[in-house]
């Protein structure tokens, strides 16, 4: 049950929300860049380092066994969280970016050739764009873009035309990190399936904010980053279908990813460890388990509902301001809690800087989506993005600060 009191008690779990910026209470609206962490996650880290820090997998001593159990325990939690058939399909990486690179390197290099096509959207994050662009360059393949329609939504009619039997993989974001646009993965997945293409979902923005089931989506790969969903920095996830991962060679070689090594021949370990070379980020993977527990407890439906409420309220209030432009779908139902905007005459840099004076943290710039900026015809945008601990009151304060921003820049003119 989600209600106003919940948000208050949620806020108590996040020590950073006590922070003051130049004496003003922090309003953290930069959640699409990274989320804040609850005390449960921070405690999981300190508890690990204070009580059972140890290298894993081959240790016979008590702490090593405890650490191994906790590390592999997070894998099981994540498998359940995304509704994966098996935890053997869950691979820990540094971030979503590395996860995509593994697919490009270990699947793409062996399955994409000259003349093949890779379909993405025009709103991909650089992480789901540059690796594919590079692969296309190397292989003589073609990168094909599903564009955004006039309504700010993805153009699904165009998707239907572009996804053909030349398409080898469709790689799309679950939610735009710039405009919040939620992509209808079922449509794209079906088109991919119909044309014999693989289907990769960049869940860096989607998994933290929307209920996500790989079985429902029916995708082949899903990637995401724990730091955007209450977890620590340094942990990403690559989920892939077992039969695909089984055929893929490792990207990195070294300790832990082997099952036997001689001067003559090395045999690769089984899934998921064959993709985890060297000492993993043990502590942060374990703490990621606490992040998953936290979200699981709240319920992802409730997370979504809370963010929708905030987004609707914020868009209404913002659009009352003269010369306010909000990019992407104008209907909050079609987007996550990410609002990219420009205020006529105020460059996003200045907007970000001035809001910071009021303790409000937003992001300004290209948001690692330069191709999308070009499509939108802007240099950059200002972006406010919400999460479970944000409140309506914070949005009121934010909208007031927007109005004040104009005054600062027109300082001279106004005197």
């Amino acid at each position: 049950m989600k209600n106003w009191n919940d948000t208050k008690s949620i806020r108590k779990d996040f020590p950073i929300l006590e922070r003051k910026i130049d004496g003003k209470p922090l309003i953290y609206f930069d959640n699409a860049a990274t989320s804040q962490k609850p005390v449960q996650v921070i405690n999981a880290l300190t508890n690990y380092y204070e009580n059972y820090n140890s290298n894993i997998h081959r240790g016979l001593h008590t702490m090593s066994e405890e650490a191994t159990l906790a590390y592999e325990g997070t894998r099981e939690k994540i498998a359940r969280f995304i509704d994966a058939p098996s935890e053997r399909e869950v691979i820990f990486t540094r971030n979503a970016t590395e996860a995509i690179n593994i697919v490009v390197e270990s699947w793409g290099k062996h399955n994409i050739g000259a003349g093949d096509e890779i379909v993405i959207t025009s709103m991909e994050h650089h992480s789901n764009f540059v690796p594919w662009q590079k692969l296309c360059e190397d292989k003589g393949a073609r990168l094909v873009y599903i564009e955004i329609g006039a309504d700010g939504n993805l153009d699904y009619a165009m998707a239907e035309r572009l996804i053909t039997n030349k398409t080898k993989i469709v790689a799309v974001t679950q939610m735009s990190n710039v405009m919040g646009t939620v992509v209808d993965l079922k449509i794209l997945g079906k088109l991919a399936r119909l044309n014999g293409a693989k289907f990769l979902v960049d869940g860096a923005q989607g998994v933290p904010h929307l209920p996500t089931s790989v079985r429902e989506i029916d995708c082949d790969f899903l990637v995401f980053s724990m730091h955007k969903m209450l977890g620590p920095t340094g942990v990403g996830v690559l989920w892939g279908k077992e039969e695909l991962l089984d055929l893929m060679p490792p990207m990195l070689y070294g300790g832990d990813m082997i099952s036997s090594v001689t001067r003559e021949k090395t045999t690769v370990n089984e899934l998921p460890w064959k993709f985890e070379a060297g000492t993993p980020n043990i502590a942060d993977v374990i703490a990621s388990g606490a992040a998953i527990d936290y979200l699981q407890n709240l319920g992802m439906q409730n997370v979504r509902a809370h963010e929708l409420e905030l987004t609707r309220y914020a868009m209404d209030a913002m659009l009352k301001l003269p010369s306010m432009k909000i990019y992407g779908p104008q209907n909050p139902e079609l987007k996550g809690g990410v609002i990219s905007f420009n205020y006529e005459g105020i460059h996003p840099h200045d907007m970000g800087q001035i809001l910071n004076e009021s303790g409000i943290a937003i992001r300004a710039g290209h948001h690692c989506c330069q191709p999308l900026m070009k499509t939108l015809g802007v240099m950059g945008t200002a972006r406010a993005s919400f999460y479970i601990y944000n409140t309506i009151e914070e949005i009121d304060f934010f909208v007031d600060a927007l109005i004040k921003a104009e005054k600062v820049l027109n300082y001279v003119a106004c005197r």
Partner: protein, 143 residues
């Protein structure tokens, strides 16, 4: 010190709202482009160099206040200067912006640029202030 004192001083806002030497030069002898990789801001710079003198300079950009003001001030200061003098101005300005220590006093004719010194408190914005200057530097390379 407040944001207004550091960043949005009168001089800067004046140049921001009324940027000097905005536009393009059709028969430019030099034209270069600059990008700020952090935010994507782009800048096109046109120069006419005649007899070793910057006889015309124009800038085209849609940058932030700092970027715009910095470019506008720069254009005024190098217009009509010899290449050697223009390069000296560039290096004096860059030196001021990249120096991490105390505030720096500039030579008298560059005094106005000191208004940009407050930007140093905001590391990310230093690149905004430098973009026009780096672009000019690039344009004058091998000249």
């Amino acid at each position: 010190m407040s944001l207004v004192d550091d960043l949005y001083r009168e001089t800067i806002l004046d140049h921001y709202h009324n940027p000097r030497n905005r536009g393009t030069i059709d028969d430019a002898t030099v034209s270069t482009e600059g990008v700020n990789p952090l935010c994507g801001d782009e800048l096109r710079l046109f120069l006419k160099i005649e007899d070793g003198v910057v006889s015309d300079i124009k800038l085209e950009s849609r940058g932030c206040s700092i970027n715009t003001a910095s470019g506008s001030m720069m254009s005024e200061l190098v217009l009509g200067k010899s290449l050697a003098d223009a390069k000296a101005v560039i290096s004096e300005f860059k030196n001021m912006m990249l120096n991490k220590g105390e505030d720096i006093t500039l030579s008298e004719d560059l005094e106005e640029l000191e208004a940009l010194q407050g930007v140093k408190k905001y590391p990310v914005r230093i690149k905004c202030a430098l973009l026009p200057w780096n672009t000019l530097d690039e344009g004058l390379k091998n000249k």
